[in-house]
């Protein structure tokens, strides 16, 4: 499968008005977060129906979201046992008709990774095949490489709907990690699937020039668990994929796995998206296109809380046109 044939387009921040002119959706969804790159896009975009989804992990109070004008699906008070599957499935069931719209736009910027992965997996399962994904890049993260994204880690499990049947043989298992700044989570996952060959996807070119350095600083902190203390950019087990390109990401994962299979029969594969949302989208596209009947799963370290606003500004906006 060639993912690079998918259409993508970027707009600089100054062109945001032209984005609005070019894009007309019947149905537009975004996950609310106070970041400018999320609210600005939502407010300006042109769509017949616009929905905010408010995810419980951001812990917004009623007052904090009372100003939102458009239709709001507030899942803040969902029970703690309700996971991404319950929330997104509930949202989907309530809006099934809108999902039949011709032009669907989903802003992935504010979505938490598991919710995003499950949503895409669900759309595939429900045969909703054409979606435009929107991703806005930040100018920078607030505290550089020390930006805190997740708090109160509690478990590692599969992203709902992404747990396939695995081989009892585990002699040649592979863990493909989208490695972002959250090195503690990267270590956690690497320890959880210790008996795997670990491959890291790093964002290169990065969203901003300094972000690659920041990313590397963090990758070093997890090196003992991920690369037996031998982190090296020259390693065959590093995939450098553009931080804002899901299609190249999917393509590189696909090619890497093909190469690995040529060397030796792979027993199981685990994917874990911990880098940019564009990488997450790419990893999910690879999963739904090539892994549904394979011993491949997407796993994730879940936290009870996520920082609401970790970035500043909008540097550019991407549109990814996807056929699932």
């Amino acid at each position: 499968m060639d993912y690079t044939i998918y259409y993508k387009k970027k707009y600089e921040n100054s062109e945001i008005d032209s984005v609005i002119e070019e894009l007309n959706f019947d149905f537009f969804i975004s996950a609310y977060n106070e970041s400018e790159r999320i609210t600005k896009v939502f407010n300006k975009i042109n769509s017949l129906n616009k929905h905010w989804i408010i995810l419980p992990e951001y812990r917004f109070s009623e007052v904090e979201v009372s100003h939102l004008d458009d239709k709001v699906f507030n899942y803040t008070d969902f029970s703690s046992t309700d996971d991404e599957g319950e929330i997104i499935l509930d949202y989907f069931t309530k809006n099934q008709e809108l999902f039949c719209s011709e032009k669907i736009g989903i802003d992935i910027t504010g979505f938490l990774r598991p919710h995003l992965v499950y949503l895409i997996r669900l759309l595939k399962a429900k045969n909703i095949l054409k979606v435009d994904f929107i991703y806005s890049e930040p100018v920078n993260y607030k505290k550089k490489e020390d930006t805190l994204f997740s708090e109160d880690y509690y478990e590692i499990r599969e992203v709902k709907g992404c747990l396939n049947s695995h081989n009892p043989e585990t002699t040649n298992d592979l863990l493909i990690l989208g490695s972002g700044y959250d090195y503690q989570m990267i270590s956690k996952i690497a320890k959880f699937k210790a008996d795997t060959k670990k491959v890291q996807i790093l964002g290169f070119p990065p969203l901003q020039a300094d972000m690659f350095q920041e990313n590397i600083l963090k990758a070093y902190q997890a090196e003992e668990d991920v690369s037996s203390g031998q982190f090296s950019l020259d390693s065959e087990d590093i995939i450098l994929a553009p931080a804002n390109d899901p299609f190249v990401t999917a393509q590189l994962i696909s090619e890497f796995v093909i190469q690995e299979k040529k060397k030796n029969k792979l027993t199981n594969i685990y994917l874990c998206p911990l880098s940019t949302k564009a990488h997450t989208l790419g990893m999910t596209l690879y999963f739904i296109n090539e892994c549904i009947d394979e011993p491949v799963s997407i796993i994730f370290p879940f936290s009870k809380k996520y920082s609401r606003e970790t970035s500043e500004g909008i540097s550019r906006i991407w549109i990814y046109k996807v056929e699932l």
Partner: protein, 655 residues
């Protein structure tokens, strides 16, 4: 040159490499004598992370038997007396058997069925490999029929005639369960409606070995050894199920369970919650205890691991040569160097004394305590003087007595008297204090045997230190194992490596999130506190790094913290606690992990024990605020450092 110590985890090795790097425990019968693979008694093998459990357990698996015996595998199995089936519990993805709208009972049934299918596939796949590569004769059709007969369900497919087909059939049944579980996320359809349990718990796990034992000549006397590694990955309910299998074990099946020290979540079984009984239903041993209690054998074991690693990098070295490679601290040279330098301890004492005595007295006291010929004895004078000060003695008189004692000891070196007593107990502390007072890194931790001691019975800690030593020398472009040159490993590179390993250890053992930070702060506070004591004017104990706690009175929050610190080897629980002098109850003693001790300049020996009372424990492990801890440290400093909390007073010549 590739760092011979690069790989520090068994999981990063292939089976071939695991075999190549295998080092047995240097006791009679080695690890086989400990694990007893043919023993019918189930065994739980505990050990800290990095203790080598996986390497040991894998050693007894079929894949390793196959590598060891190669084409003679059939004879090998007969000689070994067992056929190993290795399962890494994390591979099962046990997290999937919970929630999703199903009751715990339903999950228990599904999990037990799933485990039957999973373990049976592993056993059958090993068997298929054995048949494919040897002349073992098995009537596959008959064996398959007998195995299918173990199923409770009727109407199973009748075209399964070989072990390969049977394994595939079990895999299909497993896939059906997986599909139902995953599909729940899209349909909300109950999993229990989909999954049909075709075989009762234990029927295949015990039944297949029974069938093979009955039907295959070579297996008549062979034990089928299920090795379950990383048992901590099973939830309490899943362990409860497997504990039931341990209780109901049938020949020729044996179990060996590997788990981290905190990994056994329950000993309960499904039989009305009864616990499996140690001694009669299973035996348990802790690798850490074995390694820690037999320190000489552990040292030999680690030395052998080192030699093996180096051999595989084409470096031949004997154990004595290896030990000699590591430079140790040269205390004599250091003390000699201090002779011509400003005496920091005298300067500090003068400054403290100047606040309470007249200048003329100060001069006489300092003159009495100064001993130019020997800095070490002079430092002992200072310690003895501080002790007298704390006893509120006449300081001038005290200094005169110390002076006489010092001269006496210097001249005759008798094994008695004040100076001898200090040397007997505090020699290392005094030297380390001198290093510290003179802004030197404390080099005491360097030396091959010390590095082994610092690893506290956890081989991975030693290996990571070696890896960093190698890295530091690479950085300085020094080939430490160059056979042509007798290059030694410098104290500095050993200390740097220890520091790197400690940083890794702290990060590695930390739980992410706030709880992890809390625990980290607790151990940091304890280490800070002990360091304050060790380098105070009158240390309450010698060689400080061990604490004693009366655990009975502790609130749950603190007990949990202590448990966590012990389970993750931040604290090493000592075998023998000591009796509380006043309450006649036994306390529990913990030693600070060697890596942390080296980072905090604490002792790596175990001599003096610091008793912590309830209030001290609370202020360290569970202070109401950071300010309370700071106040506690301030009062500790005041108590153990001159002027010992006394009010300012000025002593004149005529007092």
């Amino acid at each position: 040159m590739i760092n011979p110590f690069n790989i520090t985890k068994a999981v990063d090795y292939s089976d071939e490499e695991l075999n190549k790097f295998w080092v047995d425990f240097p006791i009679e019968k080695g690890f086989k004598g400990i694990i007893k693979p043919t023993s019918e008694m189930p065994m739980i093998i505990l050990g800290s992370k990095g203790s080598g459990k996986t390497h040991i357990m894998k050693h007894f698996s079929f894949s390793m038997q196959f590598i060891r015996w190669k084409e003679k595998i059939k004879q090998g199995i007969l000689e070994d007396g067992y056929f190993g089936v290795y399962l890494r519990c994390s591979g099962l993805n046990g997290f999937k058997f919970s929630g999703r709208g199903e009751s715990e009972e339903i999950w228990q049934d599904i999990f037990s069925y799933y485990l039957e299918l999973w373990l049976s596939q592993l056993l059958l796949n090993n068997l298929i490999k054995l048949i494919e590569t040897t002349d073992v004769k098995i009537n596959e059709h008959l064996v398959t029929l007998e195995i299918l007969d173990l199923f409770d369900a009727q109407g199973l497919p009748n075209n399964i005639k070989s072990l390969t087909h049977l394994s595939k059939y079990l895999n299909d049944l497993q896939k059906e369960i997986d599909y139902s579980i995953n599909n729940r996320a899209f349909t909300n359809k109950r999993i229990s409606e989909d999954v049909k349990i075709l075989v009762s718990a234990g029927k295949l796990i015990f039944g297949i070995p029974e069938v093979l034992s009955k039907q295959v000549e070579m297996f008549k006397e062979i034990k089928f050894l299920y090795l379950l590694d990383e048992y901590e990955n099973f939830s309490p309910n899943q362990q409860k199920y497997f504990n039931t299998l341990i209780r109901e074990r049938k020949n020729p099946t044996c179990f060996k369970i590997g788990a981290r020290r905190y990994g056994i979540r329950t000993y309960e079984t499904l039989s009305a919650g009864e616990e499996i009984k140690i001694g009669s239903e299973f035996e348990e041993f802790d690798l850490d205890d074995i390694f820690r209690e037999q320190s000489k054998i552990y040292t030999e074991f680690i030395t052998n691991i080192c030699i093996k690693r180096l051999e595989n990098s084409d470096i031949q070295i004997s154990s004595s040569e290896l030990s000699n490679k590591f430079l140790k601290s040269d205390d004599e040279a250091f003390l000699k160097e201090l002779l011509n330098k400003e005496r920091k301890h005298i300067k500090l004492l003068s400054s403290k004394l100047s606040k309470i005595v007249d200048k003329s007295i100060l001069i006489r006291i300092i003159s009495n305590l100064t001993f130019k010929q020997d800095v070490f004895l002079e430092r002992i004078n200072i310690l003895l003087f501080y002790r007298e000060w704390n006893k509120k003695r006449n300081l001038l008189e005290a200094s005169e007595e110390i002076k006489l004692s010092c001269i006496e000891f210097f001249k005759h070196g008798k094994h008695e008297g004040k100076h001898y007593n200090v040397i007997d107990k505090h020699k290392r502390d005094i030297i380390d204090t001198l290093y510290r007072e003179n802004s030197h890194k404390i080099p005491t931790y360097a030396g091959f045997e010390n590095l082994i001691k610092i690893s506290n019975g956890i081989p991975r800690h030693f290996l990571i230190t070696m890896k960093h030593i190698f890295r530091w020398n690479e950085f300085y472009d020094v080939n430490i194992f160059d056979v042509k040159n007798d290059i030694k490993i410098s104290v500095d590179s050993q200390l740097n490596a220890l520091s790197d390993t400690t940083n890794w250890f702290i990060e590695d053992s930390r739980h992410p999130g706030k709880d992890g930070n809390k625990i980290k702060e607790c151990i940091f506070r304890l280490c800070d506190y002990l360091r304050e004591l060790r380098f105070s004017d009158i240390p309450p104990e010698c060689s400080i790094s061990t604490i004693s706690i009366q655990t009975k009175v502790l609130p749950k929050e603190i007990s949990n913290i202590l448990d966590f610190l012990e389970q993750y080897s931040y604290l090493i629980k000592l075998d023998t606690g000591r009796r509380d002098k006043n309450k006649n109850s036994r306390n529990v003693s913990f030693q600070i992990n060697g890596l942390l001790a080296s980072e905090w300049e604490l002792s790596i020996s175990r001599r003096g024990i610091v008793d912590l009372n309830f209030l001290e424990i609370k202020d360290i492990f569970y202070p109401d605020s950071e300010d309370i801890y700071k106040k506690f440290i301030f009062s500790t400093k005041s108590k153990y450092n001159a002027p010992f909390g006394f009010e300012k007073r000025t002593i004149s010549l005529f007092d």
